[in-house]
């Protein structure tokens, strides 16, 4: 039982969903934004600190939500570190392709391969259109933070 559910709830998701590494506020941050999925009540806020070159030096989040949204937020915080805004956008595009939403996958940049590999376990939500939003919520919040958008971002 539930064996076939392992494609959705892979170990890494259960692990990061229950013991997220980056679930905290940053005391000092350059940008923050919240994301909200009204249909299911998930909420997340992300904080970003930039390096002098404008890349993300540190990312963290606080949120409430399901294992998938928490794991996705955590993996997001991990994978965007060290990347510039443009690189994060590109990574998100690749990630959405993994989820079967957004534009079809282009050949990933070599620089993104490892990160996309890391995010791959989230690809199981493909089959669950409403859970795709759980997996992208934190990413939408990050994009809003990068744009300095003070408003809450919305679900897709």
């Amino acid at each position: 039982m539930f064996d076939d559910v392992r494609d959705l709830y892979q170990e890494v998701i259960l692990d990061h969903g229950q013991r997220p590494r980056h679930a905290r506020r940053l005391a000092c941050y350059d940008a923050t934004a919240a994301g909200d999925n009204p249909m299911c009540g998930d909420r997340v806020r992300v904080w970003l600190r930039y390096a002098p070159d404008g890349s993300v030096a540190e990312a963290a989040f606080e949120g409430r939500g399901c294992a998938i949204s928490i794991a996705s937020a955590d993996l997001m915080a991990e994978t965007i570190r060290g990347r510039t805004q443009a690189e994060i956008r590109r990574l998100f595009a690749g990630f959405r392709a993994t989820l079967g939403s957004g534009d079809p996958a282009p050949q990933p940049e070599p620089a993104d391969r490892d990160a996309l590999e890391r995010l791959l376990p989230l690809g199981g939500v493909r089959e669950y259109p409403s859970r795709v939003k759980c997996a992208t919520l934190a990413w939408h919040a990050v994009l809003a933070a990068l744009e300095g958008d003070a408003e809450e971002t919305s679900h897709e």
Binding site: D36, P38, M39, C40, Y128, P129, S130, R131, E152, S154
Partner: protein, 416 residues
């Protein structure tokens, strides 16, 4: 004229189309049903009947709410109809499609949300003398509640908009919105959308087209038309009752406050304040017409399967035939002579009231509508209390129009 240059007429076989409509085999008072009341509401093809059944038998749950299979699939179907509708009218974006109950609700939504929420008291709304009550009463109510001025474009003797008068009504620049039918449900007249748009936009007014009739007979492209709002209703397009469409440009929908409150249209709710979901859900409070959306998609695919070229050609031929046959029935007077018209013909018969005409036709199985067609001001304009109206759909045949004309001739003698 070089025949070879004409595009091949699309293959249109009215008998094959009729075979898709089970109801057309019904007898009425022992006679074969001759249904000439499609402008009031059209009959439903097998595809629509099956869509209802299949949804209820195999795939149904509430939408947007469940995380389970039935709900996911039903949500896909419901939201998928937005894409189908966007394709039908060439909307730029699927989120510009708002589902409402019918055209009437679509217009009330605009009158309440755009009218009260965006327009300022003192602004004016222009409608025409040939509007259906559904595109008239909401603006009267807005006038009375919100201090909007209501201006009326007169209709000429031929049953067309008086475009000079229209331009004059716009002149002072106070008109915020023009709400005009795209095709009259009484006269059959298509209004000159392009000119309406050019004049209205030149004077800073937005334009709502009531496409309840128009979208049934011809291809509609909201981007080519250049309008700002477009409404239509499912049941006239061979689709279900209980669902209609409001299309509006994104930037307008974004600026408009919600009208009804409830489930599914909120982003978050606290006692102090609620925030709204994104467009289009902001305008869709409560459980929507789920089954109807599935059936509407089936109806649209059915229409697209026949193709608007074939439909328009068939109906133009029917209308020409009807005008010709009615012209030869003594005592018949047809309202309106506009050259650009769809498959709707209203007429009176000397010495016989329209209701009596309709009742006698009904005795022969011929269904026409009689009354003021929810267009009292237009009736007054033409100096009549009521008319009989024959209207045509994809399933109408030339023989049915012959039956109408022949029977009318006998009705005339009956009341002579």
């Amino acid at each position: 004229m070089n025949v070879a240059l004409r595009p091949a007429a699309p293959a249109f076989d009215v008998e094959r189309v009729r075979a898709e409509f089970p109801i057309l085999g019904q007898l009425v008072r022992g006679k074969k049903l001759v249904f000439l009341d499609s402008a009031a509401s059209a009959q439903k093809p097998r595809a629509v009947i099956d869509a209802f059944r299949d949804a209820m038998e195999t795939q149904y749950a509430n939408v947007h709410r469940g995380l389970h299979w039935m709900s996911e699939r039903t949500t896909d179907a419901y939201e998928g109809t937005r894409d189908v509708v966007a394709g039908l009218i060439n909307a730029r974006d699927r989120t510009e499609i708002v589902f409402v109950r019918n055209s009437t609700e679509g217009i009330n939504l605009v009158a309440n949300s755009y009218g009260r929420g965006v327009m300022q008291p003192g602004a004016a709304v222009v409608i025409s003398e040939m509007e259906h009550h559904s595109n008239l009463v909401p603006w009267q109510m807005l006038r009375d509640a919100h201090g909007i001025e209501l201006r009326i474009v007169p209709v000429t003797d031929t049953g067309e908009l008086d475009m000079a008068a229209f331009e004059a009504l716009l002149a002072d620049g106070r008109v915020g919105l023009v709400a005009i039918t795209h095709m009259s449900n009484v006269l059959g007249t298509y209004t000159p959308a392009q000119r309406i748009m050019a004049l209205a936009h030149a004077h800073g007014a937005k334009v709502l087209l009531d496409g309840s009739q128009a979208v049934v007979h011809r291809r509609v492209d909201v981007q080519a038309l250049g309008c700002d709002f477009y409404v239509f209703t499912g049941h006239k397009l061979y689709g279900p009752t209980g669902i209609g469409v409001l299309w509006a440009k994104s930037e307008l929908l974004d600026r408009m406050p919600p009208w009804m409150g409830g489930g599914d249209m909120i982003s978050s709710v606290t006692w102090e304040r609620s925030t709204w979901a994104n467009v289009p859900h902001k305008f869709e409070a409560g459980t929507p017409a789920i089954l109807e959306s599935v059936a509407l998609a089936a109806a649209i695919r059915f229409v697209q399967g026949i193709g608007y070229d074939a439909i328009a050609a068939h109906e133009a031929s029917l209308t020409a035939h009807a005008l010709d046959r009615l012209a030869h029935v003594e005592g018949v007077r047809v309202l309106g002579t506009a050259p650009d018209r769809g498959g709707v013909v209203s007429f009176t018969l000397a010495n016989a009231h329209a209701h009596d005409v309709a009742t006698l036709l009904d005795r022969e199985g011929i269904a026409v509508r009689a009354g003021n067609h929810c267009a009292e001001p237009l009736m007054r304009r033409f100096g009549v209390d009521s008319t009989a109206r024959a209207s045509f759909g994809v399933y109408t045949t030339h023989a049915e129009i012959d039956a109408l004309a022949d029977t009318l001739d006998r009705v005339r003698s009956f009341f002579a």
